[in-house]
């Protein structure tokens, strides 16, 4: 019990980080499951959101709301632009998409660092959120607890939209049969562009709200991208629910794993991925979603 108590802060920290990753990874898995796009600039969108938050926060609550909106908008614009850039590459394979988005991430990432400098920038939060809060006998940064609530709400809302709304139904239909969606009178290209914009918006929002936890930098962009990739692989292709579970898992590996066995944490991610791939029934992965 004492042991559990001692590691409780790490567990809560892991939940915070896991939810942060989920917000990013849900965008990646959407882009990947629905639009069949491997977006290596996704971490850079996260970075853009973080800088947007830094620019608009002024220590007030309105500033925080504005940061969330600005991050979302910046991410959506970035995602939409990426979908426009990827369109001409249709039919030339995923390698080209990967190369293009990686090129974009290098250019945009390095331009951002030149504009904002390489020091970590922290958004200006309301004073209350900078205070520690006592919860179950431990001190936590108040912002982390707020973030858990906000990200939890976002996940619930996202789940409702995907499973219960007409837009969600269209998106799910895109995964199953693009031609049928076209026959219903909906332009699949428009849906794809929309999905990439939403994916970008999610990463931008995560960057904005996550900036006090993981500030924008090239390193953060890479870390978030890699961990999101692991989450998407472990969680299953285009599966939001799977991504949710996997994100919480990776969050625990990231914080609890580092606290318990610092030397082993990179291998733990490896192991989680290997187990997920081997345990899951082959047919699901065999055809790689719908990429035959």
């Amino acid at each position: 019990m004492d042991l559990l108590d001692a590691y409780l802060p790490h567990v809560i920290g892991g939940v915070t980080y896991g939810l942060l990753l989920f917000t990013v990874a849900s965008g990646l898995t959407l882009a990947f499951g629905v639009a069949d796009v491997l977006n290596l600039a996704h971490g850079t969108v996260f970075m853009v959101g973080g800088y947007a938050a830094y620019l608009v926060t002024d220590g007030s609550w309105w500033g925080l709301v504005l940061a969330a909106l600005a991050g979302t908008a910046a991410g959506a614009v970035f995602g939409g632009a990426l979908s426009g850039a990827i369109m001409p590459l249709a039919g030339r394979g995923h390698m080209m998409q990967a190369l293009l988005t990686f090129g974009v991430s290098m250019v945009v990432g390095n331009l951002l660092v030149q504009v904002f400098g390489s020091a970590e920038l922290r958004p200006d939060l309301p004073d209350v959120l900078e205070q520690p809060v006592v919860f179950l006998g431990h001190n936590y940064p108040a912002y982390h607890l707020l973030f858990i609530g906000a990200a939890g709400l976002l996940a619930a809302a996202g789940w409702l939209v995907v499973t219960r709304s007409r837009v969600g139904a269209l998106v799910r239909a895109m995964v199953d049969d693009q031609d049928m969606v076209a026959a219903l009178g909906v332009n699949p290209k428009l849906v794809l562009a929309g999905v990439l914009a939403v994916a970008g918006a999610l990463a931008g929002l995560a960057g904005a709200l996550g900036a006090p936890i993981l500030g924008p930098s090239l390193h953060a962009a890479n870390t978030v991208l890699l961990q999101s990739l692991v989450i998407v692989v472990v969680g299953g292709l285009g599966s939001i629910g799977g991504a949710f579970v996997a994100a919480l898992l990776v969050g625990q590996v990231h914080t609890l794993g580092v606290a318990l066995a610092p030397e082993w944490s990179p291998y733990l991610l490896f192991a989680a991925m290997a187990v997920a791939l081997l345990v899951r029934r082959p047919p699901q992965l065999l055809v790689g979603g719908r990429t035959t």
């Binding site: 995923h94 293009l100 390095n110 292709l237 990179p266 490896f270 065999l286």
Partner: protein, 320 residues
């Protein structure tokens, strides 16, 4: 005469001869960076084997490359510096690594394969960074002893000797890879690439073929990693980072995914360009490289070979 001019074998022989004569024409510094390029060239060949022959676009071939590299580092530290042992052990270590992760990896296709290999490559780079006893962390491996080309011979110390060694190994390995691609197993793997369902229906063991080519490509990458240790005699975890993967991928795209020689030439072009921009635009390297990636994707469908085809210098090959 025209036929002779269009024969790739003639051009290949001429190119190898020209490369072998380079130490008489350029300075030691250029030679040592060329040796490093040859090592990355083999990594590009390994990616080209997977992408071109098997249709499996890998973003993580730095993983077996890292295994080969650190196998050579460990052996040299232990006092084993003979090239045949280093090359065989590095190739074998990388092949074993690929045989272990392969069964899970080659079950996937398309984007999943890309993501999975990317994750494997990145995690290997992180592991290299963390395993300080072998890699030395960000400080690097420290100065290592030179490689001895064969028992009883002098160690490879001066730049031309190192360069000739790397070139010879690369030429032999690339020729071997080209021969393997044309052999019967090679055409079976191409069959899987072109029509997997049909191959399955015909009773071919698709999974085993792909695992075979994955292990073979890993071995090539491992040998490339060993060459890097011989040429630099000091290696860093950043030598196996994702930007190296991307650089090599770009080399393959420029060289044309199906062409092994093209992959080598592409690697040379990309890395020379990177070093050149690093010298003239200090600090802007990644920016220029990123712009180069974007330009290559839009402007060079089919790579250099595609460009040559379009201007009619090269016979159109079977579509890949």
């Amino acid at each position: 005469m025209t036929r002779l001019l269009l024969d790739t074998r003639v051009w290949t022989a001429l190119a190898v001869a020209a490369l072998a004569a380079l130490p008489f024409a350029v300075d030691a510094y250029t030679l040592s960076s060329l040796s490093g390029i040859i090592s990355l060239g083999l990594l590009a060949v390994s990616v080209a084997v997977l992408t071109g022959t098997a249709g499996l676009p890998s973003l993580g071939q730095v993983a077996p490359y890292a295994f080969g590299m650190y196998t050579t580092v460990v052996l040299i530290r232990a006092g084993v510096t003979e090239a045949p042992v280093l090359l065989l052990a590095s190739g074998a270590a990388a092949a074993v690594f690929c045989a272990v992760i392969g069964p899970a990896v080659v079950r996937t296709r398309g984007v999943v394969f890309l993501m999975l290999t990317l994750a494997v490559g990145e995690l290997t780079a992180q592991a290299a960074q963390q395993w300080k006893a072998v890699s030395g962390g960000t400080d690097g491996s420290g100065r290592l002893d030179p490689t001895v080309p064969f028992w009883g011979l002098e160690p490879l110390v001066d730049e031309p000797a190192v360069y000739w060694y790397c070139l010879a190994v690369a030429v032999v390995v690339t020729a071997l890879a080209g021969w393997a691609a044309r052999s019967t197993p090679g055409s079976l793997v191409r069959g899987v690439r072109d029509n997997e369902a049909r191959m399955r229906a015909d009773g071919h063991r698709v999974g085993a073929y792909l695992l075979g080519v994955f292990v073979f490509a890993g071995m090539i990458a491992g040998i490339g990693g060993s060459l890097l240790v011989t040429s630099q005699r000091m290696v860093f975890p950043s030598d196996v980072s994702f930007s190296i993967s991307a650089l090599v991928l770009m080399a393959v795209v420029i060289g044309g995914a199906a062409s092994l020689g093209g992959a080598l030439v592409g690697a040379g072009a990309v890395i020379l360009l990177r070093d050149w921009t690093a010298a003239y635009l200090p600090g802007q390297g990644p920016l220029v490289l990123g712009a180069l990636f974007i330009a290559a994707v839009y402007l060079m469908p089919g790579g250099l070979a595609g460009v040559l085809e379009r201007i009619g210098l090269r016979r159109r090959k079977e579509a890949t």
